[in-house]
Symmetry: C2
């Protein structure tokens, strides 16, 4: 078994995931904690870090530590100012800010990425996952360009080319779904269901794809009216609304591609990063747009390892030929 | 002064508005109450009706009573089943259902309108306002067709032609705005403002119009990122988000028109019905889409009077030549 060479932290708003990594980024141990950035009391970072990683450092006191995510925001442990697009891994490395823990260890915090413009965009944490996906599949970062999706509360879609994050979009799909379900009339007739209703979900996706030209605000009321007209049960309504919203996200993404003489249909260089259940939903929805080739890349640890290697904290991974 | 000939009720989810009308629908008295359909206890309709209209009926015991809105829904006083599109005033009259009050008065409840299809739509109350607008301006209902907008929690846009409601859309703009402001990250950096910031509102409208092709889910995050990049103050954010959502509504409506070889730009037969402040916002937003001709028609009482006249409850209004 490989010995540990790096502690890698994915420290977001609602949770902290810590990985003990060996050579080439192989995972040796992992711990998850609910100590997200927005849940910590003032000065709580050090204590959360000790609780999660203290035992690893007791055993291996000189391990380097790298961290990505909201931990580097203005509300985080230390602010690592945004790097602007287009952003390569070398810019992220140059933007690393360190914070010294009570134990005397330097935590290397990776900056997020900012895109300026009429619709500015920011990410923190996803940039590291994207470089993890590129580390697994270097051909993705080649000149032709790839599209990397990170479903979630605030879904990101990044256009990657020449090894850089060129630009990206933020779709507030997950959070809008929660707000509509829990705080509008649409939730009143819904019943939660323990099982995923694939047919209801795909009906929502297809409705957004085929009848969504008037926009999301004009389609979501159908969640209620299909129920009023006996076409959707209370248990089907949450999955239908989820399909509608993800369908509108993909419709919008496709519109961006169409304006560049591309399309989701038949796209071969699209990858998904995220939890399995959500990526499964997105894969099923992408198939309705003719995109059948969207493998999920588990990229978090790999991205943290790659950044650490590029920063000289660990040896560069050995590339398979 | 004209003597009263009709009591007309606009009885919705959150409020009850009652009008005492004279010949030709002229308003003699009005009362508003918070006794909306969703706020009443079981059996509360009779008491709310007495409290609001009892004094009028004491003075004029034989006045007919007509009502429109959610009072005719399955959760209302008596259910007046939906009439299907395309729907003329005669279909609404034929669908009237009466309920006898404790005092022995018959309340004539106007049905709502249902449109079937992949995106079914329903309205209750708006149909009566639309016929009120047509009563004020009969040329609107001519064969060329008109577009009537009713901004609100669930905004409606109805295509009217040949004196009938041919089809309509429901945009959940108002309710989605409230859910996003009060229950997502977007609200966290907002400060409420006592005054309307027209520039921030129009910036939102223009952003939806010019950069909204990826859809609402992809633009709303800019409320936060424009603040992060120092381009929008906390006080401007609510009006910016409001402009974005209304802009997306109009963008979607325009897309519907474009598919029919029409457009909002230059449209002469568009009317707005609703409260003044909200209609002012919509008029300003419509102007950014090139539609400068959207007078507001105050149509509620007129619509109730017209339906009552067509039902033979009152004399038909005298038409101006």
């Amino acid at each position: 078994m490989s010995s540990p060479v790096l502690i890698a932290l994915d420290w977001g708003t609602t949770s902290l995931r810590a990985y003990l990594l060996g050579d080439d980024g192989v995972g040796l141990d992992a711990r998850a904690s609910s100590a997200g950035v927005m849940k910590l009391p003032a000065g709580g970072f050090d204590q959360a870090f000790e609780e999660t990683c203290g035992a690893w450092l007791d055993a291996h006191p000189r391990l380097p530590v790298v961290a990505a995510g909201m931990v580097g925001s203005a509300q985080g442990w230390v602010e690592a100012p945004y790097v602007e697009t287009s952003a390569g891994a070398e810019a992220l490395v140059a933007g690393i800010v360190t914070v010294k823990t009570a134990r005397g260890v330097a935590v290397h915090v990776v900056p997020g990425v900012l895109e300026r413009g009429a619709l500015p965009n920011v990410m923190r944490g996803e940039e590291t996952q994207i470089f993890g996906a590129l580390a697994s599949e270097p051909s993705l970062g080649a000149s032709g360009g790839a599209l990397i999706g990170l479903p979630g509360t605030h879904a990101k879609w990044a256009f990657v080319g020449n090894g850089r994050i060129e630009r990206f979009y933020t779709f507030m799909t997950g959070e809008t779904f929660g707000a509509l379900r829990d705080h509008t009339i649409l939730g009143r007739t819904m019943h939660p269901s323990a099982t995923h209703d694939e047919a209801a979900f795909l009906r929502g996706v297809d409705t957004a794809r085929d009848a969504g030209h008037a926009g999301l605000l004009a389609t979501i009321f159908s969640t209620r009216t299909l129920s009023l007209t006996g076409q959707l049960t209370a248990e089907q309504q949450p999955d239908y609304l989820s399909g509608l919203l993800i369908g509108h996200e993909l419709r919008g993404l496709n519109e961006v591609l169409v304006r560049e003489r591309s399309a989701l249909a038949g796209k071969k260089t699209l990858r998904l990063i995220g939890n399995d259940a959500l990526c499964d939903r997105y894969r099923a929805a992408l198939a309705r747009f003719g995109c059948h080739d969207a493998p999920t890349a588990h990229a978090t640890e790999r991205g943290l390892y790659r950044i650490a290697a590029q920063a000289g904290l660990v040896a560069a991974p050995v590339r398979a030929a």
